[in-house]
Amino acid sequence: MIGTGIQVNGDITGDEDLTIDGKLEGSLKLDSNEVQVGKTGIVKADVSARIVKIDGRVDGDIIGQEKVVITRSGNVRGNIKAPRVTLEDGAIFKGSIDMDPGDSAKAQAEALAKKTNGQSPSATQPMKLESGDKEAALSAKSS
Protein backbone atom coordinates (compact mmCIF):
# COMPACT_ATOMS: atom_id res chain seq x y z
CA MET A 1 0.00 0.00 0.00
CA ILE A 2 1.12 3.53 -0.77
CA GLY A 3 -0.37 5.59 2.06
CA THR A 4 -1.82 9.08 1.92
CA GLY A 5 1.42 10.74 3.02
CA ILE A 6 3.64 8.83 0.59
CA GLN A 7 4.83 10.00 -2.82
CA VAL A 8 6.60 7.61 -5.18
CA ASN A 9 8.50 8.69 -8.28
CA GLY A 10 9.53 5.73 -10.43
CA ASP A 11 8.46 2.43 -11.91
CA ILE A 12 6.65 -0.21 -9.89
CA THR A 13 6.51 -3.90 -10.87
CA GLY A 14 5.77 -7.02 -8.83
CA ASP A 15 3.31 -9.77 -8.04
CA GLU A 16 1.20 -8.41 -5.19
CA ASP A 17 -2.01 -6.41 -5.10
CA LEU A 18 -1.49 -2.71 -4.49
CA THR A 19 -3.61 0.10 -3.07
CA ILE A 20 -2.55 3.68 -3.73
CA ASP A 21 -3.88 6.37 -1.41
CA GLY A 22 -0.88 8.66 -1.93
CA LYS A 23 0.87 9.89 -5.06
CA LEU A 24 2.64 7.96 -7.80
CA GLU A 25 4.50 9.36 -10.79
CA GLY A 26 6.13 6.92 -13.21
CA SER A 27 4.70 3.58 -14.29
CA LEU A 28 2.90 0.68 -12.64
CA LYS A 29 2.90 -2.87 -13.98
CA LEU A 30 1.26 -5.64 -11.95
CA ASP A 31 -0.25 -7.76 -14.71
CA SER A 32 -1.34 -10.65 -12.47
CA ASN A 33 -2.69 -8.53 -9.66
CA GLU A 34 -5.23 -5.96 -8.63
CA VAL A 35 -4.53 -2.24 -8.35
CA GLN A 36 -6.82 0.08 -6.47
CA VAL A 37 -6.41 3.83 -6.58
CA GLY A 38 -8.13 5.11 -3.45
CA LYS A 39 -10.14 8.33 -3.15
CA THR A 40 -7.07 10.26 -2.09
CA GLY A 41 -4.82 8.56 -4.63
CA ILE A 42 -3.25 10.60 -7.44
CA VAL A 43 -1.49 8.62 -10.16
CA LYS A 44 0.38 10.17 -13.06
CA ALA A 45 1.47 6.98 -14.73
CA ASP A 46 0.54 4.31 -17.22
CA VAL A 47 -1.04 1.45 -15.28
CA SER A 48 -1.18 -2.20 -16.27
CA ALA A 49 -2.80 -4.81 -14.00
CA ARG A 50 -5.25 -7.71 -13.99
CA ILE A 51 -7.96 -5.60 -12.38
CA VAL A 52 -7.79 -1.82 -12.00
CA LYS A 53 -10.25 -0.06 -9.70
CA ILE A 54 -10.14 3.73 -9.55
CA ASP A 55 -11.74 5.80 -6.80
CA GLY A 56 -9.23 8.64 -7.15
CA ARG A 57 -7.40 10.37 -9.98
CA VAL A 58 -5.37 8.82 -12.81
CA ASP A 59 -3.62 10.68 -15.62
CA GLY A 60 -2.26 8.02 -17.93
CA ASP A 61 -3.18 5.02 -20.04
CA ILE A 62 -4.66 1.98 -18.31
CA ILE A 63 -4.52 -1.65 -19.38
CA GLY A 64 -6.70 -4.11 -17.49
CA GLN A 65 -6.11 -7.78 -18.32
CA GLU A 66 -9.54 -8.60 -16.88
CA LYS A 67 -11.42 -5.37 -16.17
CA VAL A 68 -11.23 -1.69 -15.31
CA VAL A 69 -13.71 -0.04 -12.96
CA ILE A 70 -14.00 3.73 -12.49
CA THR A 71 -16.19 4.44 -9.48
CA ARG A 72 -18.37 7.49 -8.85
CA SER A 73 -15.47 9.38 -7.26
CA GLY A 74 -13.00 8.36 -9.98
CA ASN A 75 -11.46 10.79 -12.45
CA VAL A 76 -9.44 9.42 -15.37
CA ARG A 77 -7.72 11.17 -18.26
CA GLY A 78 -6.19 8.65 -20.60
CA ASN A 79 -6.95 5.68 -22.80
CA ILE A 80 -8.26 2.43 -21.39
CA LYS A 81 -7.81 -1.03 -22.86
CA ALA A 82 -9.58 -3.97 -21.22
CA PRO A 83 -12.05 -6.75 -22.03
CA ARG A 84 -14.60 -5.10 -19.73
CA VAL A 85 -14.87 -1.51 -18.55
CA THR A 86 -17.36 -0.23 -15.99
CA LEU A 87 -18.03 3.45 -15.42
CA GLU A 88 -20.15 4.32 -12.40
CA ASP A 89 -22.57 7.25 -12.38
CA GLY A 90 -20.63 10.38 -11.45
CA ALA A 91 -17.29 9.10 -12.69
CA ILE A 92 -15.32 11.50 -14.89
CA PHE A 93 -13.55 10.08 -17.90
CA LYS A 94 -11.78 11.72 -20.80
CA GLY A 95 -10.17 9.60 -23.46
CA SER A 96 -10.90 6.42 -25.35
CA ILE A 97 -11.95 2.94 -24.33
CA ASP A 98 -10.86 -0.20 -26.17
CA MET A 99 -13.03 -3.17 -25.29
CA ASP A 100 -13.04 -6.76 -26.49
CA PRO A 101 -15.79 -8.59 -24.64
CA GLY A 102 -15.12 -12.05 -26.03
CA ASP A 103 -17.57 -14.50 -27.54
CA SER A 104 -20.67 -14.19 -25.31
CA ALA A 105 -21.05 -10.44 -25.63
CA LYS A 106 -20.05 -10.56 -29.27
CA ALA A 107 -23.05 -12.83 -29.87
CA GLN A 108 -25.28 -10.00 -28.60
CA ALA A 109 -23.62 -7.60 -31.01
CA GLU A 110 -24.19 -10.03 -33.85
CA ALA A 111 -27.86 -10.27 -32.89
CA LEU A 112 -28.18 -6.47 -32.96
CA ALA A 113 -26.47 -6.23 -36.34
CA LYS A 114 -28.67 -9.02 -37.77
CA LYS A 115 -31.81 -7.36 -36.35
CA THR A 116 -31.13 -4.19 -38.32
CA ASN A 117 -29.33 -5.63 -41.32
CA GLY A 118 -31.03 -4.97 -44.63
CA GLN A 119 -33.37 -2.36 -43.15
CA SER A 120 -31.18 0.61 -44.01
CA PRO A 121 -32.15 2.88 -46.89
CA SER A 122 -30.27 2.69 -50.15
CA ALA A 123 -27.51 5.19 -50.82
CA THR A 124 -29.58 6.96 -53.46
CA GLN A 125 -32.62 7.53 -51.28
CA PRO A 126 -33.29 11.26 -50.88
CA MET A 127 -33.54 12.93 -47.48
CA LYS A 128 -37.04 12.76 -46.13
CA LEU A 129 -38.81 13.47 -42.90
CA GLU A 130 -40.73 10.56 -41.50
CA SER A 131 -43.02 10.59 -38.51
CA GLY A 132 -42.21 8.54 -35.46
CA ASP A 133 -45.81 8.17 -34.36
CA LYS A 134 -49.33 9.40 -35.13
CA GLU A 135 -48.99 12.44 -32.91
CA ALA A 136 -45.86 13.45 -34.76
CA ALA A 137 -47.50 12.94 -38.12
CA LEU A 138 -50.34 15.25 -37.13
CA SER A 139 -47.99 17.93 -35.84
CA ALA A 140 -45.96 17.71 -39.05
CA LYS A 141 -49.10 18.31 -41.14
CA SER A 142 -50.23 21.23 -39.05
CA SER A 143 -46.87 23.03 -38.95
Binding site: R84, V85, T86, L87, E88, D89, A91, I92, F93, K94, G95, S96, I97, D98, M99, D100, P101, A105, K106, Q108, A109, E110, L112, A113, K115, T116, N117, G118, Q119, S120, P121, A123, Q125, M127, K128, L129, E130, S131, G132, D133, E135, A136, A137, S139, A140, S143
Partner: protein, 200 residues
Amino acid sequence: MPAGGKVKSARLFPELFSHVDPGERLRVLEVGCAQPETVDFFSRFKCRLQFLDLYASPSLLEDQGSKSEAELSPGFRKALALPKSEKYDICLFWDVMQYMTGPAIRALCGALEPHLHKRTRAHALGVHSVLTASDLAEYAIVDDKTFRLKPCRLPGLEYRPHPQAELAEMLTVFKIERAMLMGDGTVEMLMASKPYWDSD
Protein backbone atom coordinates in the same frame (compact mmCIF):
# COMPACT_ATOMS: atom_id res chain seq x y z
CA MET B 1 -36.03 -0.67 -17.66
CA PRO B 2 -34.16 2.56 -17.11
CA ALA B 3 -33.54 3.31 -13.43
CA GLY B 4 -34.99 6.84 -13.60
CA GLY B 5 -34.66 10.26 -15.22
CA LYS B 6 -36.05 11.48 -18.50
CA VAL B 7 -35.90 8.96 -21.30
CA LYS B 8 -36.26 9.33 -25.05
CA SER B 9 -37.17 6.74 -27.62
CA ALA B 10 -35.11 6.21 -30.75
CA ARG B 11 -36.33 4.84 -34.07
CA LEU B 12 -33.37 5.26 -36.39
CA PHE B 13 -30.54 4.62 -33.94
CA PRO B 14 -30.58 0.81 -34.39
CA GLU B 15 -29.88 1.29 -38.10
CA LEU B 16 -26.42 2.60 -37.28
CA PHE B 17 -25.51 -1.00 -36.63
CA SER B 18 -26.89 -2.46 -39.85
CA HIS B 19 -23.46 -2.35 -41.52
CA VAL B 20 -21.52 -3.51 -38.48
CA ASP B 21 -19.47 -6.64 -38.85
CA PRO B 22 -19.34 -8.12 -35.31
CA GLY B 23 -15.99 -9.69 -36.13
CA GLU B 24 -14.39 -6.33 -36.82
CA ARG B 25 -13.42 -3.69 -34.29
CA LEU B 26 -16.08 -0.99 -34.24
CA ARG B 27 -14.71 2.54 -33.94
CA VAL B 28 -17.13 4.98 -32.35
CA LEU B 29 -16.76 8.72 -31.75
CA GLU B 30 -19.20 10.19 -29.28
CA VAL B 31 -19.45 13.98 -29.10
CA GLY B 32 -20.46 14.08 -25.47
CA CYS B 33 -19.58 13.12 -21.96
CA ALA B 34 -18.78 9.49 -21.12
CA GLN B 35 -21.84 7.94 -19.51
CA PRO B 36 -22.00 4.60 -17.67
CA GLU B 37 -24.94 3.33 -19.73
CA THR B 38 -23.17 4.14 -23.01
CA VAL B 39 -19.99 2.31 -21.98
CA ASP B 40 -22.13 -0.63 -20.89
CA PHE B 41 -24.05 -0.62 -24.22
CA PHE B 42 -20.86 -0.73 -26.27
CA SER B 43 -19.27 -3.33 -24.02
CA ARG B 44 -21.05 -5.96 -26.12
CA PHE B 45 -18.94 -4.92 -29.12
CA LYS B 46 -15.30 -5.36 -29.86
CA CYS B 47 -14.83 -1.62 -30.13
CA ARG B 48 -12.89 1.56 -29.56
CA LEU B 49 -15.04 4.23 -27.99
CA GLN B 50 -13.66 7.77 -28.14
CA PHE B 51 -15.30 10.61 -26.25
CA LEU B 52 -15.09 14.19 -27.47
CA ASP B 53 -16.57 16.16 -24.61
CA LEU B 54 -17.21 19.64 -26.00
CA TYR B 55 -18.92 20.59 -22.74
CA ALA B 56 -15.58 20.10 -21.03
CA SER B 57 -14.11 22.77 -23.33
CA PRO B 58 -16.45 25.61 -22.32
CA SER B 59 -14.55 28.31 -24.18
CA LEU B 60 -15.12 26.49 -27.46
CA LEU B 61 -18.91 26.64 -27.25
CA GLU B 62 -19.34 29.75 -25.11
CA ASP B 63 -17.17 31.99 -27.32
CA GLN B 64 -18.47 30.79 -30.68
CA GLY B 65 -20.99 33.63 -31.11
CA SER B 66 -19.29 35.98 -33.55
CA LYS B 67 -16.40 33.80 -34.69
CA SER B 68 -15.86 32.59 -38.24
CA GLU B 69 -15.24 29.01 -39.29
CA ALA B 70 -11.55 29.84 -39.83
CA GLU B 71 -11.26 31.25 -36.32
CA LEU B 72 -13.02 28.27 -34.76
CA SER B 73 -11.30 25.48 -36.72
CA PRO B 74 -8.03 25.32 -34.72
CA GLY B 75 -9.99 25.02 -31.48
CA PHE B 76 -12.03 22.07 -32.74
CA ARG B 77 -8.96 20.33 -34.16
CA LYS B 78 -7.22 20.77 -30.80
CA ALA B 79 -10.25 19.51 -28.86
CA LEU B 80 -10.55 16.47 -31.12
CA ALA B 81 -6.84 15.63 -30.85
CA LEU B 82 -7.50 12.37 -32.64
CA PRO B 83 -4.75 10.09 -33.88
CA LYS B 84 -4.15 10.97 -37.56
CA SER B 85 -4.82 7.45 -38.79
CA GLU B 86 -7.99 6.97 -36.72
CA LYS B 87 -11.16 6.54 -38.83
CA TYR B 88 -14.57 6.19 -37.25
CA ASP B 89 -17.41 3.87 -38.24
CA ILE B 90 -20.02 5.67 -36.15
CA CYS B 91 -20.25 9.29 -34.94
CA LEU B 92 -22.80 10.26 -32.28
CA PHE B 93 -23.63 13.96 -31.99
CA TRP B 94 -26.80 13.94 -29.89
CA ASP B 95 -28.25 17.49 -29.84
CA VAL B 96 -25.01 19.49 -29.62
CA MET B 97 -25.56 21.10 -33.05
CA GLN B 98 -28.63 22.87 -31.68
CA TYR B 99 -26.22 24.78 -29.45
CA MET B 100 -23.66 25.59 -32.15
CA THR B 101 -23.50 28.36 -34.74
CA GLY B 102 -23.25 27.51 -38.43
CA PRO B 103 -19.53 28.36 -38.56
CA ALA B 104 -18.93 26.19 -35.50
CA ILE B 105 -20.74 23.22 -37.08
CA ARG B 106 -18.69 23.66 -40.26
CA ALA B 107 -15.49 23.88 -38.21
CA LEU B 108 -16.38 20.67 -36.37
CA CYS B 109 -17.13 18.96 -39.69
CA GLY B 110 -13.79 20.11 -41.10
CA ALA B 111 -11.95 18.72 -38.10
CA LEU B 112 -13.77 15.41 -38.45
CA GLU B 113 -13.31 14.96 -42.19
CA PRO B 114 -9.91 13.18 -42.08
CA HIS B 115 -11.42 10.67 -39.66
CA LEU B 116 -14.37 9.54 -41.79
CA HIS B 117 -14.44 6.71 -44.30
CA LYS B 118 -16.77 5.48 -46.99
CA ARG B 119 -19.14 3.69 -44.62
CA THR B 120 -19.07 6.07 -41.69
CA ARG B 121 -22.58 6.62 -40.36
CA ALA B 122 -23.66 9.29 -37.90
CA HIS B 123 -26.60 10.05 -35.64
CA ALA B 124 -27.87 13.40 -34.41
CA LEU B 125 -30.94 15.00 -32.90
CA GLY B 126 -32.45 18.19 -34.28
CA VAL B 127 -35.77 19.98 -34.28
CA HIS B 128 -38.58 20.10 -36.83
CA SER B 129 -39.33 23.74 -36.06
CA VAL B 130 -37.07 26.38 -34.55
CA LEU B 131 -39.91 27.06 -32.12
CA THR B 132 -39.48 23.62 -30.59
CA ALA B 133 -38.27 23.92 -27.02
CA SER B 134 -35.26 21.95 -25.94
CA ASP B 135 -33.54 21.03 -22.69
CA LEU B 136 -29.79 20.95 -23.06
CA ALA B 137 -28.90 17.47 -21.92
CA GLU B 138 -26.22 14.85 -21.90
CA TYR B 139 -27.32 11.56 -23.41
CA ALA B 140 -26.75 7.99 -22.32
CA ILE B 141 -27.61 4.90 -24.37
CA VAL B 142 -29.81 2.61 -22.31
CA ASP B 143 -30.42 0.27 -25.24
CA ASP B 144 -30.60 0.65 -29.01
CA LYS B 145 -34.07 2.19 -28.78
CA THR B 146 -33.84 4.19 -25.56
CA PHE B 147 -31.71 7.12 -24.44
CA ARG B 148 -31.55 8.63 -20.97
CA LEU B 149 -31.23 12.42 -20.66
CA LYS B 150 -29.14 13.89 -17.87
CA PRO B 151 -28.61 17.54 -16.87
CA CYS B 152 -25.83 19.24 -18.81
CA ARG B 153 -22.80 20.66 -17.07
CA LEU B 154 -23.01 23.86 -19.17
CA PRO B 155 -26.65 24.80 -18.55
CA GLY B 156 -26.19 28.39 -19.77
CA LEU B 157 -25.36 27.53 -23.37
CA GLU B 158 -27.41 29.48 -25.90
CA TYR B 159 -30.02 27.44 -27.76
CA ARG B 160 -29.54 27.95 -31.51
CA PRO B 161 -31.99 25.62 -33.27
CA HIS B 162 -31.43 25.18 -36.99
CA PRO B 163 -34.16 24.25 -39.47
CA GLN B 164 -33.35 20.91 -41.04
CA ALA B 165 -32.63 22.36 -44.50
CA GLU B 166 -30.13 24.83 -43.00
CA LEU B 167 -28.52 22.14 -40.90
CA ALA B 168 -28.12 19.94 -43.97
CA GLU B 169 -26.07 22.72 -45.59
CA MET B 170 -23.94 23.24 -42.50
CA LEU B 171 -23.10 19.54 -42.32
CA THR B 172 -20.39 19.75 -44.93
CA VAL B 173 -19.19 16.19 -44.45
CA PHE B 174 -22.46 14.41 -43.79
CA LYS B 175 -25.56 13.78 -45.86
CA ILE B 176 -28.81 13.31 -43.95
CA GLU B 177 -29.96 9.88 -45.05
CA ARG B 178 -33.17 9.66 -43.06
CA ALA B 179 -34.94 11.93 -40.61
CA MET B 180 -37.68 10.86 -38.23
CA LEU B 181 -40.01 13.35 -36.58
CA MET B 182 -40.73 12.36 -33.00
CA GLY B 183 -43.76 13.20 -30.89
CA ASP B 184 -41.97 15.93 -28.93
CA GLY B 185 -41.06 17.89 -32.07
CA THR B 186 -37.49 16.70 -32.18
CA VAL B 187 -36.05 15.03 -35.24
CA GLU B 188 -33.82 11.99 -35.16
CA MET B 189 -31.34 11.99 -38.03
CA LEU B 190 -29.30 9.23 -39.58
CA MET B 191 -26.39 10.44 -41.68
CA ALA B 192 -23.71 9.09 -44.00
CA SER B 193 -20.30 10.50 -44.79
CA LYS B 194 -20.86 12.95 -47.65
CA PRO B 195 -17.59 13.03 -49.59
CA TYR B 196 -17.91 9.34 -50.30
CA TRP B 197 -21.66 9.45 -50.83
CA ASP B 198 -21.21 11.99 -53.64
CA SER B 199 -18.50 9.90 -55.28
CA ASP B 200 -20.49 6.65 -55.23
